[in-house]
Symmetry: C2
């Protein structure tokens, strides 16, 4: 990313944006419009809401954790009436519950869904949920911040209207960019959407995209990095990228169970990008994470929201070599006994 910055109104930038947009569409598996925004994933989620709804609109929010709650909160802050479809923490959303909620609430304009819930390590069955939402004729808005580029999400095949991702996840580049795809049906909703917006106005992004520019100054250095990582993804092949995530995730889950830890996620919906393990009785998460960080240079995630102090989370998204995952197991084998838990196989 150390290249000399260049003018974002010049031909070099236009070529870069054109290349990135086409490359991203391949990974999104979409022919829809796609925009790159300078913001983190949460800003992308805001863009995915405020451009398509109006204050007072009734929105269904499928939430199975912290990031689902965040999506619902954004809609509420901008004036929507939000009905939440929840699941027990560690479980995926039930597509039948979504169908029922849509029947009970025929005035719903659209549905917000988290594809991959990072706070619990659960991947929703988006294909099944999407089928229900589109059968009911509603707008489908997907938070794919922590899934796209790592998990299969064929945007067009599943008929997702608005899909948002973020640069620091499966794309393997530093945080600072969000990407949003927009279907024709979403554009039709946009024409009537009255939520307040300026920086995140995708109508502006659309106008400038016609000449491969952005309305506001873009984070060029991160776009240059994305250019490199998209080439790496294309070279490997996206199906191979998905398979690699599956393999590393299987290895992570097995290794954690072998240590005697129980996993939070229902096995049939366990995420291939992050795994949450329950803390054994008496083990303080904060202490464990500190020993791992200070003595083993291993950084794991803590529990968020209601799971604070109850779980640890191992990320395995983007490029994670086998040695890194094995290093996590080795560190846990040494660190756990220091905080009051003797792992299986350790004397």
């Amino acid at each position: 990313m150390g290249v000399q910055m260049f003018n974002h109104r010049g031909p070099e930038f236009a070529a870069l944006q054109g290349r990135l947009t086409e490359g991203l569409k391949k990974v999104f598996q979409t022919k829809n419009d796609l925009y790159i925004l300078t913001t983190s994933g949460t800003g992308g989620m805001e863009a995915a809401v405020v451009n398509f709804f109006s204050p007072g609109d009734h929105i269904l929010s499928v939430t199975i954790g912290v990031f689902g709650d965040r999506f619902a909160s954004i809609a509420e802050k901008f004036g929507a009436k939000v009905t939440r479809v929840k699941a027990e923490l560690g479980k995926a959303a039930d597509p039948a519950a979504v169908r029922d909620a849509l029947k009970t609430n025929p005035d719903v304009k659209g549905v917000l869904v988290t594809h991959n819930e990072t706070s619990t390590g659960v991947t929703n069955d988006l294909e099944a949920i999407a089928r229900e939402v589109k059968a009911a004729g509603k707008l489908l808005v997907v938070d794919a911040v922590s899934s796209l580029g790592s998990l299969n999400l064929p945007v067009d095949a599943w008929k997702c209207d608005v899909v948002v991702s973020g640069s620091q996840k499966g794309w393997m580049v530093p945080p600072g960019l969000a990407m949003v795809s927009v279907s024709a049906e979403a554009w039709a909703a946009n024409a009537k959407a009255a939520m307040s917006r300026f920086y995140f106005d995708l109508g502006q992004a659309k106008q400038y995209a016609a000449r491969n520019q952005t309305p506001w100054t873009p984070a060029i250095s991160i776009m240059v990095a994305l250019d490199v990582s998209l080439k790496m993804i294309e070279k490997e092949g996206i199906q191979q990228v998905f398979a690699r995530h599956q393999r590393v995730a299987d290895k992570t889950r097995k290794g954690l169970r072998d240590l005697g830890l129980s996993l939070l996620a229902d096995p049939k919906n366990a995420s291939n990008t992050v795994t949450a393990a329950k803390l054994p009785d008496g083990v303080k998460g904060e202490e464990l994470l500190k020993v791992l960080r200070d003595e083993h240079d291993v950084v794991l995630g803590e529990g968020q929201g209601p799971l604070t102090g109850k779980i640890i989370r191992v990320g395995h998204l983007g490029w994670v070599p086998d040695e890194d995952i094995e290093g996590v197991f080795a560190a846990l084998r040494k660190a756990l006994p220091k905080v009051g838990f003797v792992p299986a196989g350790v004397k």
Copy 2:
């Protein structure tokens, strides 16, 4: 910026954010709270509006060009009633006109001002305008995206309540970060401010800043670059940085006039970061910029908004060596005759 990304919830990030916040406060010359947002300057401007006003509020917007108009538009999009105090393009705002507008509109809650208008190359007399605004007891919100770090703006001495800057300008790092300072009076306004916000909610930023974190994932790579450039600014000394901009600006203005071009800005308010020169009769800006870019590798700015096709703009903000400015003059001496204007001293 090629460092390995690190966890934004860990101690390394907290130390970085603490160091950047203190370093930025020195350049802002403020003891107010200060936050770093992952967005471009326009997002920072949105944050500076939506956190301090409510829909229906009457706001005065001092606009002398494209960026002033943008500030006013943001306030309107989020439901404010905006009264504009304008000036002729190329002129600075008249502090007496601001005083009069405040007298005529006693219900005004706050005033938006652009410190340095990049589209015309004019720097407003912010000190005098601030005096009028604070004498009237109104909230003062300043767009310093293209001035802070290059031009003197003592935030506390001039009693500016909210001041926003952007990383790609005087800070000499890539675009992607905005910085916003918030006074106690602004926080009091925030408590009653009802404009819709989520990603740009500074109340969230304040909560997380208590442990030197950000509510959403930050653009770490650009923060690492800013860490380096703040050390460079501190080493040079900010008064020396301002003096250097003055000297390079004087040289730019003299060089352009020596070529026989007339400058757009009123000399007493000419910006020390960007200079706009009027295109001579018959010269097409687009053609001139193309010759400069293709044959001389020199990228100048075009006119924006109503000045499209009427001016060219030479940027001299951040670290601009004398040779770069001399290179611009040399390129113009060769390029101008090709598009129909023989500069002074060229046969």
